[in-house]
Amino acid sequence: MLYRTAGQFKTSYRADQALFPLRQDAILLGVILALAWVVFPLTASEFAYQTLLIPVLIYALAALGLNLLTGYAGQLSLGTGAFMGVGAYACYKLITLFPELNLVVAVLLSGLFSAGVGVLFGLPSLRIKGFYLAIATLAAQFFLVWLFEKWGWLYNDNASGAIQVPNVEMFGIWVAGPLATSTAQYYFVLGIVTFLTVVAINLTRGAAGRTWKAVRDMDIAAELIGINLMKAKLHAFAVSSYIVGVAGALFVFMWRGAAEPNLFDIDLSFRVLFIAIIGGLGSILGNYLGAILIVALPVLLNTVPDLFGIAIKSATVEHVNVIIVGCLIILFLILEPHGLARLWQLVREKLILWPFPH
């Protein structure tokens, strides 16, 4: 009904390969964008901004970066948290060294640093595969966090060893630091996330995306049909780490406000990985669905018992949350290995056919 395709004819290949072969998809996306850009900011409370809207966007962006590497190019990485850290520290150094720099420019530049580090740690992927590579990315994870801790220059030799986001102004509005309003920060994040998502969608639909998928499905076969493995893998590492780095910069500047090195520890890497898995590897949409689920779950768990007047200790809620995430991962792997994105596709197909069964 809602998704009836009748009357939408494709007369060229170009039309069939379009971003939205169905008019309804475009409308749906338009509605979502309108919600994100207009409706949410008008209605959201401070609490909603800080615990839902901003973190969902940032985590989704980080998962998107990881997904390009793991879901599209097939290289499992357990070092996402540390690469986010590289982006965050780079942005901090840029802003403190050049206070005049526009924050958008600084954030986008800081991704370049994590891209560089990502390529460096991606080099072993040319010789190491599968689990061995996953463990190799752990070297990046532990080494980089150690570096954040020991290299005083990175945090301006701050006594506490933490980086503190200064107040940053852009066009007369505070966008980062304690003086910034949540609305400004939300729009900042939304702008960058929208932009990078468009870039990512086009990358995965183009030559780069097809190369990555060929490498993922079987790298030797890909090499035989003339794909330069080194270029393809390093390209994937660079693009992925760039996006992850930008997400890291946003993570600290637009949301946390300050960061200690152990904020970027392995737990963060895993959280992003879970979002990508539950959302669906090899999908762009999935990252958003996964982020919504993972971010909203603890908030829900915290409020639901209150509504029923049951007092549960905050620590217990925390642990129940961990168990539920674990169960969800296993459930998804068993029932729907392609994650939430695939679930949505199934729903969509059903909608297209509805009310007929076939």
Binding site: E46, F47, S160, G257, A258, S314
Partner: protein
């Protein structure tokens, strides 16, 4: 945050809890940690804090006739979770008790905007002493820099000059808390010619300090000063016994004076010292009141053994400082239902004279101090506690830190902080 959002949020939350909101209460949430690797040292402190407030509620019906809501928000000593707790409670709370230097540092810039006082008794950022710069932060009765100075002063036998040529290892948690005294220690090392050897212990290696203690064995420092917390302390003391480091050259900060940590080694830990701004005194009248109204009523979470220990009783002193701040604020503003801003005035005008301490029943548990607009710490001084094989006993008279040495550093670091966080409001109206 902007007042209208705060109002809207407060309104929304109040509407949700319609029944509860009608009753007056003083909401003083505690960002506690009863789980995780720091729980062992956190639990007794938090039990002490909680029991004192429960006692006030049971005995006096709260403070100024309004009951205290001493709810806990679990952080696990994790900075990220702590900030979440702060955001969650800030709409209604009249105070933030962050319970970790890391969390304190992160919420510090926000409190200026949100206008909520931070109360960090004996922890947090030492320059918070400077009330002109840190208008919303309080760390009575002594800062970490006070503590570090008093330890060195005591070790040197009263003259820091005698430390010249000595080697002092600084075993610390690799976390904002552990790094906090470093600026002062470095300055003192430069001024008095001793070698400072910082030895960090990472969060993941707290329980496996063999590398750190091998280093201590190799370097043979004259003293080891420990800024440890949680599972780190017990492991460090066990390793010290194992490497046969002389216990009388091993001194901890006040958070490294947990009875349980020392009980693991018992006799072998004899001679270990820790500086402390609180003393356990099971005979104090307040203890009798807590026994009567809380423990015997079955409302306490503490075990019988814990009640006599250093940390539980320090928790009581901490809550007493907050309760006194609330009382002063109520008197100043002539209202029982005070706001966060009014509590700030109360905490700025604390006056714990010996008389007042006795009145509160805290006799022998703390030293007199008073805060002011410019001085948010009060500098009560502290005692050395010594492990005698079975318990901690007082091992010195009241020590004092030389503020003439510390104050310039406080001013310097506070100015640096304000510059890094510009625009940062500084209250120039304060006097001396």
């Amino acid at each position: 945050m902007r007042p209208w959002t705060r109002l809207a949020l407060a309104g929304a939350v109040a509407a949700m809890a319609a029944g509860a909101a009608a009753a007056q209460e003083l909401y003083t949430p505690n960002l506690s940690y009863r789980t995780g690797p720091f729980a062992a040292t956190g639990i007794p402190l938090m039990n002490g804090q909680r029991d004192y407030m429960l006692m006030l509620n049971a005995r006096d019906g709260g403070i100024g006739g309004i009951p205290v809501n001493f709810e806990e928000c679990e952080t696990g000593y994790n900075t990220e979770k702590g900030v979440e707790c702060y955001e969650k409670t800030k709409a209604q709370a009249i105070v933030t008790q962050p319970w970790s230097t890391g969390i304190t540092l992160q919420v510090l810039p926000k409190t200026n905007v949100d206008q909520i006082p931070i109360l960090a008794p004996g922890y947090g950022f030492s320059p918070m002493t400077d009330g002109r710069t840190f208008q919303w932060a309080f760390n009575p009765p002594a800062s970490y820099w006070d503590g570090a100075y008093m330890i060195l002063h005591h070790l040197s036998g009263g003259d820091l000059g005698t430390l010249s040529g000595k080697k002092i290892a600084f075993l610390h948690l690799d976390h904002p808390y552990g790094k906090e005294p470093l600026p002062l220690l470095e300055k003192l090392a430069a001024d008095h010619g001793f070698t400072l050897l910082p030895i960090p212990v990472g969060l993941t290696e707290m329980q496996n300090q063999s590398a750190q203690w091998l280093q201590i064995r190799r370097e043979q420092p004259d003293f080891v000063i420990m800024w440890g917390w949680g599972a780190m302390n017990a492991a460090a003391i066990a390793e010290a016994v194992k490497t046969r480091y002389p216990m009388n050259q091993f001194v901890g900060v006040w958070w490294a004076s947990h009875t349980d940590d020392l009980q693991l080694v018992g006799e072998a830990g004899k001679g270990y010292r820790a500086i402390s701004w609180s003393l356990p005194n099971p005979e104090a009248p307040v203890m009798a009141a807590i026994r009567e109204h809380v423990i015997d009523a079955g409302k306490s979470l503490a075990s019988a053994e814990e009640v006599g220990e250093v940390f539980y009783q320090r928790g009581i002193v901490i809550s007493a400082i907050l309760a006194e701040g609330i009382r002063v604020a109520q008197e100043m503003h002539g209202t029982a239902q005070i706001t966060a801003a009014q509590l700030r005035d109360g905490l700025e005008n604390l006056d714990f004279t010996q008389e007042r301490i006795d009145e509160l029943g805290l006799t022998g548990m703390m030293a007199p101090f008073s805060t002011s607009c410019a001085d948010h710490t009060g500098h009560s001084g502290a005692w050395m506690l010594e492990w005698d094989g079975t318990q901690f006993v007082q091992a010195s008279d009241l020590l004092q830190a030389d503020q003439a040495v510390i104050a310039p550093l406080v001013a310097e670091k506070a100015a640096e902080y304000a510059a890094a966080n510009a625009p940062w409001p500084v209250n120039e109206a304060c006097e001396g």
